[in-house]
């Protein structure tokens, strides 16, 4: 009797597996291409970089095991701390300059009656300008020559020329202004979409209660956008922390290292060292990964909280 029950259980178990496979096989197969691409392009390189960062690398050929020596070289490099501070400055200025304008613009567009669509299109246009074109264009806008666009405007109002990106105190701010101009449209649309979900009766009630524009924005709009605001905040920190293209294209990390970032330093190790510093490039990659993974965990934590609440 017991044997019969066990056999039935086995059959049930087997058929359960068969059923599971039958039911999910096509789903897994549809996922397979993505998994393979992620494995080849992301997971494997990430893990291998971590492993190889413990070896003496001659370009991409593995040498002897050297433990944490590459990490030691990266962290004790004379430019590591200044570059880490630069990277944090990028994040700081991006939050100061770039975080609020998309929200304000989204609220403004939501409020206007005429030219709503035209305004959305105009504000979104910079987002579709290819990155490299945008950087070259802003290099000319910021040109310290008298023929630079901003310097021409300054001369019209009787001021002298300014160094813009050549000025070590302005270079990061300048790059963040450009990044904000480029990314503002996308973020603004996200907030605008969020605003569409706000029940207009809430505003009407607030008006009846005597709330002014600022009070309405704080008490009605802000809670409605809270989820998007927090996610964009963390996303922005994550993205800006990895800034590479702008210093590479617009300033060469200068002047005197003032605009160099951790990602730029990784590029220098990886591609401008004649293959000597590949190991350090991988070690720095792991360090950046570790910093970002903390932010990402925080991001998922916040995301979960938001999903639970809204």
């Amino acid at each position: 009797m017991n044997n019969l029950i066990n056999r039935d259980k086995r059959i049930t178990g087997k058929s359960k597996i068969r059923l599971f496979v039958k039911k999910n096989a096509s789903g897994w197969l549809f996922l397979l291409p993505t998994v393979l691409i992620l494995y080849t392009m992301v997971w494997r390189p990430t893990v291998m970089a971590g492993v190889w960062s413990l070896f003496k690398m001659r370009a991409y050929t593995i040498g002897e095991f050297i433990g944490l020596n590459n990490y030691k070289m990266v962290i004790s490099h004379s430019q590591f701390v200044p570059i880490l501070i630069n990277t944090l400055k990028y994040v700081f200025w991006s939050l100061i300059i770039g975080f609020i304008p998309p929200v304000v613009l989204a609220i403004m567009i939501n409020e206007v009656v005429y030219f709503k669509s035209a305004s959305k299109i105009i504000l979104y246009l910079p987002t579709i300008v290819p990155g490299i074109v945008c950087m070259i264009m802003w290099t000319y806008i910021y040109s310290p020559e008298p023929t630079g666009l901003l310097n021409m405007l300054l001369s019209k109002v009787g001021c002298g020329s300014f160094g813009w990106l050549n000025n070590p105190d302005f270079t990061i701010v300048g790059i963040i202004i450009m990044k904000t101009w480029k990314g503002l449209g996308g973020a603004m649309l996200l907030y605008y979409a969020g605003l569409q979900n706000v029940n207009s009766e809430l505003y009407e009630a607030a008006v009846l209660d005597g709330a002014g524009m600022w009070k309405r924005a704080w008490n009605v709009t802000r809670p409605a956008l809270a989820a998007t605001l927090v996610l964009n905040f963390v996303n922005q920190i994550n993205a800006v922390f990895q800034t590479l293209d702008e210093p590479l294209t617009m300033t060469g990390g200068g002047p005197n290292g003032a605009s160099a970032t951790l990602a730029y330093q990784l590029f220098q190790y990886g591609f401008r060292s004649g293959g000597k510093s590949t190991g350090q490039a991988m070690a720095l990659g792991v360090i950046i990964f570790a910093i970002l993974i903390v932010l990402t965990i925080f991001y998922f934590h916040v995301n979960k909280k938001i999903e639970e609440n809204y």
Binding site: L29, P33, A59, S143, F271, G275
Partner: protein, 475 residues
Amino acid sequence: MVIIKEENFMRTKFRRTVSFILAGVMITALSTGCGKQAKDKDESGRTIVSVSNYPSAEGKAKDNFDNAIAKFEKNNPDVVIKPDQWTFDLKSFYAKAAGGQLPTIFNSYFTEVGPSIEAGYISDITDVLKKRGYEGKFNPVLEDIIGRDGKIYAIPSSAYVLGLAYNVELFEKAGLMNEDGTPKQPKDWDEMVEFAIKIKEKTGAAGFQFPSTDNAGGWIFTCLAWSYGADFVKENEDGGYTAVFDSPEAVEALQFLKDLKWKYDVLPAEMLVSNSKTEEYFGTGQVGMYITAGDYPTKLKAYNTDVDTIGLMALPAGPKKHVTLLGGGVKMISANATEDQIDAAIRWHESSMNYKLTDNVKESINNTLSNMVENGILVGVKSMSPWSKETEYLNYYYDMIDEYANSDMNHVKLYNDFVENCPAEVRPEERICAQELYAILDTCIQAVWSDENSDPSEVLAKANNDFQNDYLNNY
């Protein structure tokens, strides 16, 4: 009911088939992309040689390349040429090399020969070159660059020394041209500054330009500092290295660059300048002079620079030395190549460039020069040759430059004379951690240009210390 069941069944079957096909395609695509050692012989036993720099765009250059392949394979029935569109760039080179994906023979630069030897990515070609009669045929100044410990690892395909490019129109306006069409030659850096001041005064354009980013500024600064008597890295008795560019000589050279901006004001306002930005400034007539190599006309093509408005002359001397920096291009052969492939690859190279003056070589030279003329690139600069003066190639090449010249040869005469009977010391670039050195020197240049009160001796002392600790101590 039955119909619905059948529909569901068909749908599931269809979905499953599609997913299987998709997965199959992806797996095939990914597996074909994986590194696999290339074959060295084809089915009929011919040696396969893959060659870089195959033009991607349809046109004359691609037709010439195809014709060269057809002709070579006809004359060398034991070899089959596989063209590869990859052209050398640092971002892909080391990854391709480590993955065994380099073409058999590929173009590269002097600067990459040393690191490629150290990484073991290129073949020792000494024996094949000896067998093919190359002994004594290369320009002797290149021996240290293409070889190590008596062995040869690269074939030089071009060579140049730094000179001083100038804008003919700005020179004319500043009264710096002679009646015969040659420019006045600044004999030293001080005189060059005088020229730059004159250009600025008479034309409003910047007199001089010097790069400061992407390691380009550091590269040229080494040459400038040598002329002040400075050195950069000294080999110790124990085999280690010491940075020595905190010397008064190097400080004097950096002070010179600082003065160009703050004392003489002859530079453009933009101080974050890459090589290509320097070329843009010069190619569009915004600066009077810049330091560059003999191959610069090709780089100005992007700006449609009128060939009659540009010229080249000798590099001015420094207070201690007259010295110029050597650079150029090489052909390297992948470390995976077999003996047969090395031999066949060198034969392929010889079909377009050979110390012996074959018909193919003549045709190749004519094609190159006529292409330059067609594309509006200045022909007239007689750069340093990879070959020794005795070779037939060199004499023919120089004769053809005279024949195809598309501008006043006097505009480049002073550079050509400088190359032919070089009064200056010709030095290859620094060998130890060169790129890192250039990067750190770039920041020194930016430091003295961005702060009028900066002290070059402090800037260099810090850079010297950082370079020692960050790189030389770990070398």
